[in-house]
């Protein structure tokens, strides 16, 4: 990338003690289906360069879409100027890191760019037909928002990172509108993976089957009880909980004082059989990377080990601030954004239970499956909306419950985990933080928590 090298040289020449350049290219197709009718479609290519510098200990950032020498030079000068106007009143330092060099590619078989739009639509329509077949007249309509992407990032830094990562990914949101005696209700599930189109049909059939079954159950659901209950969180619901809790492992929130885990390193924060780690290196998982947006190779990072808080996830700057090592978790939505500390894939070590055993052991409780709308204030409560819920009576799923909202305090909930299952499914999302969205997952087994607050 000649322009990148030019940008690095120029930045150093005009005063940057550190500079990094991120060139990114995205070739995408996106479409919306309302039933089998196409309501929106775009294809496009985006590329550009983001430039971040440190001058006199201060950060400056800019970007350009316009990849000609003159515009790249202007971009570098803008970034350097922004750092200089801060008058050296910041003391940014970066921790030493294992910087990436070389070319890395995620495996895929069928490049999304090589597939005709109508063939992609045909695969998505199979999911709609499948849902209609399973749910019958309980399903009023289905919407799908879909996109696929071929992506490439070339990262260069003045301290030696020079690496390229590329691959393909697809993602869809499957939205259903079901019928009850009182009207229409809505539910949705999102799915994404780093893969080619070869995986799309299997994914859409899997999600559409699950959603259609939910529609059938929810069509006869009743109002839930209100207040504290014993809950079994199915894997994806538990995934939402651990994802939201995961924000408290992000070192920037620890430094800012908004993390539930601030000041608790080395202390018991959960039940003794809970081990949690962050791993952006899982092959082809939705939240995986070969290197982060500071050029750092990520590594599996233990967060909670047998109930004890062991660590946080870091950018190079937060690692320096807390005297720890970078973990490869500085990520940006695209070249238009500065990297911030983000999760990749949060994983909870499996336990010994099976889901059926957990249900049969529970006399009174609520089974909660799927989640949407998760949010936390960090030190305060955590909240999400269950996609599906059942009342548990005498060890059996007694009746489906409608519109169940779930609320917990993070630190209380971690100490209220009673049992962890063997099986886990990916909770997949595009998480918002600091004005950016990020592809992240959580792989968390189904678990039983002895007190959550539900409403509905």
């Amino acid at each position: 990338m000649e322009l990148g090298e030019l940008a690095l040289r120029l930045a150093e020449h005009i005063g940057a003690e550190y500079a990094e350049v991120r060139y990114q290219q995205f070739e995408r197709a996106a479409m919306n289906l309302k039933g089998k009718e196409l309501t929106g479609i775009i294809e496009g290519v985006d590329e550009g360069i983001g430039v971040r510098v440190i001058v006199n200990g201060c950060w400056g950032f800019s970007y350009t879409h316009n990849l000609v020498e003159e515009e790249v030079e202007k971009t570098v000068k803008r970034a350097v100027k922004l750092a200089k106007i801060q008058g050296g009143k910041c003391e940014v330092k970066l921790a030493e890191a294992d910087l990436a060099k070389g070319r890395f590619q995620f495996d895929y078989k069928i490049d999304p760019r090589s597939v005709d739009l109508n063939d992609k639509i045909s695969i998505l329509v199979k999911g709609i037909e499948n849902a209609n077949e399973i749910a019958g007249d309980k399903l009023k309509s289905v919407d799908i928002s879909y996109f696929d992407l071929w992506f490439k990032t070339h990262f260069l830094s003045s301290d030696g990172a020079d690496a390229v990562q590329s691959g393909a990914r697809f993602y869809f949101a499957f939205r259903v509108y079901g019928l009850t005696s009182s009207g229409v209700f809505y539910d949705s599930e999102r799915f994404g993976m780093i893969a080619g189109i070869e995986k799309l049909e299997e994914a859409i059939i899997d999600v559409s089957t699950r959603m259609a079954k939910r529609v059938v159950n929810q069509s006869k659901a009743e109002s839930p009880p209100t207040g504290p209950v014993i809950a079994i969180l199915e894997s994806r619901a538990a995934g939402d909980f651990f994802h939201e809790m995961g924000h408290s492992f992000e070192a920037d929130s620890v430094i800012r004082g908004t993390s539930a885990f601030e000041g608790l390193k080395g202390k018991m924060v959960a039940v003794g059989n809970l081990t949690v780690y962050e791993d952006p290196t899982i092959p082809n998982a939705w939240g995986s990377i070969f290197f982060d947006d500071e050029g750092v190779k990520p590594k599996k990072t233990i967060l909670i080990e047998n109930g004890v808080l062991r660590g946080y996830i870091h950018s190079r700057e937060t690692a320096m601030r807390l005297g720890e090592k970078p973990t490869g978790h500085a990520r940006a939505e695209g070249f238009q954004y500065e990297p911030i500390v983000r999760m990749g894939n949060v994983v909870v070590k499996p336990g010994d239970w099976r889901e059926e055993e957990l249900i049969s052991e529970t006399r009174n409780g609520v089974y909660i499956a799927g989640a949407r709308g998760g949010q936390t204030t960090g030190k305060g409560p955590f909240q999400f909306q269950a996609s599906e819920a059942f009342l548990i009576r005498n060890g059996e799923l007694a009746k489906p419950l409608r519109s169940v909202g779930v609320s917990m305090n993070i630190l209380e909930a971690l100490k209220n985990i009673e049992a962890i299952c063997k099986e886990a499914n990916y909770y997949i999302t595009l998480c918002g933080k600091g004005g950016q969205r990020m592809a992240v997952t959580a792989l968390v087994p189904t678990m039983k928590i002895k007190k959550v607050i539900i409403g509905g």
Binding site: E43, L117, R256, S403, G405, I453
Partner: protein, 447 residues
């Protein structure tokens, strides 16, 4: 490549009609936080989106690298999409007279430099960080945005809009006895925001955060409730605002439906410069106007863009906006997407009471100011669940202690069954709303 050349090239490439959307924005953003982190960015973004009609179908593509070769590629791609998978569209919008152009642009904000923006942020932060108490500033961001966009089509439509925006956003925290309150707010103006105004607002917010530190649990039950403008606007954006656009399917709401009390009047007011989304034309060139969407609880109209208006044989309401499609990394610039019907700028008609007068009507109830998790709301049924992050008990007509951990559930129609409203309003994203008193809301507490 000049506009006429693009139109001619599209025509020669077998497009029956062609629309060009040209967009340019300049962003300066500086932020400071309590952990010593300072960020500064300055960016300029340009792009072009091209929509065509070919063989009676619509195609769209875009580029952010504006040069002759790329523009030709975009035109060809849009035509290819129209021919292979595009939706049916007869015509693009025709040129119409714009009745009123609100003042959306101030040169003094457009001309502001990075140095000045940073200096203002520094002055604000350095003043408010000195506050001593249980509350403190967490971070403050000062963002200046200057936007120019043009819409041109082969039917002779040709408009240009210039906008400026200054937003100062800040988050605060207050901690006492292991209990925490966090509170976020912002100030918005199309002109440069005065430093003193920002300082006063932030200090006021820090003190308010201190008064929000949770104290007592609340018993589960149903209570009459006072709902803040922030919650009202947030819940509406995840429920009613979606179902009021003509693209929402299945159609939950129809003209003539009664969906709230007589107190409820919702007006689309895209000519009001106090709302950031306001504009005299929409993103496909249809003039906008003030529209009563809901009057005294009754739905008067849904909102249409040109495409959905054609399907239903009626006129666009001027609500064709280019908003992000579900993709990642997001396409956040309007030139990157084709128009769809969207709510633009909303005013909820206020009442004539104060907050205290609303509370005076309640013996035992709850005042809810902020929530988390409302984005999981069900737009079809209107059901929602959220956890109150700032809420207070109402006892004997007075707002009393801040509440610990209350989960609220209900339906948007319950919320719209408004008994009374305040005179004072607040801007929340694209809505100017009052505080409202509603008959009941279900609360799940720790007891």
């Amino acid at each position: 490549m000049k506009i006429n050349e693009i139109l001619k090239f599209a025509e020669e490439s077998n497009a029956e009609q062609c629309e060009i959307f040209i967009y340019e924005d300049k962003n300066i953003s500086t932020s400071m936080s309590i952990d010593g982190r300072i960020r500064a960015s300055s960016t300029i973004s340009k792009g072009i989106g091209i929509r065509v009609i070919a063989r009676g179908r619509e195609g769209f593509s875009y580029t952010s690298s504006i040069n002759r070769e790329n523009i030709k590629k975009v035109v060809r791609k849009a035509i290819n999409i129209a021919l292979t998978a595009g939706r049916k569209l007869k015509d693009l919008p025709e040129s119409r007279k714009i009745s009123h152009v609100p003042k959306l642009y101030y040169e003094e904000l457009d001309q502001i430099t990075e140095d000045e923006v940073f200096e203002n942020t520094r002055k604000i932060f350095n003043k408010v960080v000195k506050y001593k108490g249980a509350g403190k500033i967490l971070s403050c961001n000062n963002g200046v945005r200057s936007i120019k966009w043009k819409i041109i089509n082969s039917l002779g439509l040709n408009y240009e809009v210039k906008e400026t925006h200054n937003t100062i956003s800040f988050s605060t925290i207050a901690v006492k006895d292991d209990q925490t309150a966090t509170y976020y707010d912002y100030i918005y103006n199309r002109k440069p925001i005065e430093v003193e105004d920002a300082i006063n607002k932030i200090l006021e917010t820090i003190k308010y955060a201190e008064s929000c530190i949770p104290k007592t649990p609340i018993e589960s039950g149903e209570y009459p409730a006072i709902i803040s403008p922030r919650i009202l606007a947030t819940l509406l954006s995840y429920t009613l605002y979606r179902t009021l656009t003509a693209k929402f399917h299945p159609r939950i709401i129809k003209t003539g439906d009664n969906i709230g009390s007589k107190q409820l009047t919702i007006i689309e007011d895209p000519l009001n410069p106090k709302i950031p989304n306001s504009t005299p034309i929409d993103h496909e060139g249809t003039p906008t106007r003030q529209i009563k969407i809901i009057e005294n609880g009754e739905v008067k109209t849904l909102l249409y863009d040109h495409y959905y208006a054609q399907i239903e044989g009626r006129e666009s309401t001027g609500n064709g906006f280019r908003t992000p499609m579900s993709t990642w990394p997001r396409l956040t610039k309007p030139y990157q997407t084709a128009p769809t019907p969207q709510i633009s700028s909303i005013i909820i008609k206020p009442g004539n009471k104060t907050l205290e007068e609303l509370a005076g009507q309640i013996d035992k109830g709850i005042y809810i100011d902020t929530v988390i998790g409302a984005h999981g709301a069900d737009p079809a049924s209107g059901n929602f669940t959220a956890t109150a992050s700032t809420a207070f008990k109402i006892e004997n007509g007075n707002i009393t202690e801040p509440v610990k951990h209350a989960t609220i559930t209900g339906n948007i129609r319950q919320i719209l069954n408004i008994i009374d409203l305040t005179k004072q309003q607040k801007l929340v994203h694209n809505t100017i709303a009052p505080t409202v008193l509603v008959p009941k809301i279900k609360v799940a507490g720790e007891k």
